[in-house]
């Protein structure tokens, strides 16, 4: 299993541009998550999904959108990129069951200038 994969690994955006961060997992996990990690900080939850067609906001959802059309994929859309969105973005997933831990992808480093 590849686990959780994310593309791209790095990206530089200009202010006002848009982009989609891709996330795919091959573990048949129902639960998927998007986090951002700012320098010197822990991760903060942006959005999450408990299954295909179901998404919900996390702690810092403003400026982002998500969709979940399949179990495997959970893309994160940035509209009108701003410098405050410069961060490292992590996708994660976990299986069904209250005790299951989250497995993380390798992250995407995004710079908005």
């Amino acid at each position: 299993n590849a686990g959780v994969t994310q593309t791209p690994k790095f990206r530089i955006l200009k202010i006002g541009q848009s982009m989609t961060l891709q996330c795919t997992q091959d573990m048949n996990h129902n639960y998927m998550y998007w986090y951002r990690q700012d320098p010197g900080m822990g991760l903060k939850l942006i959005y999450y999904s408990v299954g295909a067609g179901i998404t919900d906001k996390g702690e810092v959802p403003n400026g982002y959108n998500v969709s979940r059309s399949t179990t495997e994929d959970f893309p994160l859309r940035l509209e009108l990129a701003a410098p405050s969105q410069t961060s490292v973005y992590f996708c994660a997933s976990r299986g069904q069951g209250r005790t299951y831990e989250q497995y993380f992808g390798p992250g995407t480093r995004l710079t908005v200038t």
């Binding site: 639960y31 010197g40 900080m41 822990g42 991760l43 999450y48 408990v50 989250q102 390798p106």
Partner: protein, 114 residues
């Protein structure tokens, strides 16, 4: 709101020695999970150890063990026989059983000296 505090921004340890990383949390919930994640320079978040709040026994995973003090809301990580590969950022995290939100501390940077 739940919060997680790691009071040690940086720690260092000699190879083969033992080090303890501190974590405290604030919650009004009684049923929750606590985690320690390791983040090496590669950025990959790796689960080190997990503790379920209803279990009194401290979790252990090989050289890694925790000291879980529920009443004190403390969850420290002990690394025994430290190895160079243990050098990384370590994050303490909390999740209530009724929530999907994983709350992270700011992390502790661990350096292992040869």
């Amino acid at each position: 709101a739940q919060t997680v505090t790691q009071s040690q921004p940086e720690m260092s340890v000699q190879e083969a020695e033992t080090v303890t990383l501190s974590c405290t949390y604030d919650t009004s919930e009684s049923d929750y999970y606590l985690f320690w994640y390791k983040q090496p320079p590669s950025r990959q978040m790796i689960l080190v150890i997990r503790q379920e709040a209803y279990k009194q026994q401290n979790a252990t995973e090989n050289r890694f063990s925790v000291n879980f003090q529920k009443a004190a809301k403390s969850f420290s990580l002990k690394i025994s026989d430290s190895q160079l590969g243990d050098a990384a950022m370590y994050f303490c995290a909390y999740r209530s059983t009724g929530s999907e939100k994983l709350v992270f501390g700011k992390g502790t940077k661990l350096t292992v000296n040869p």
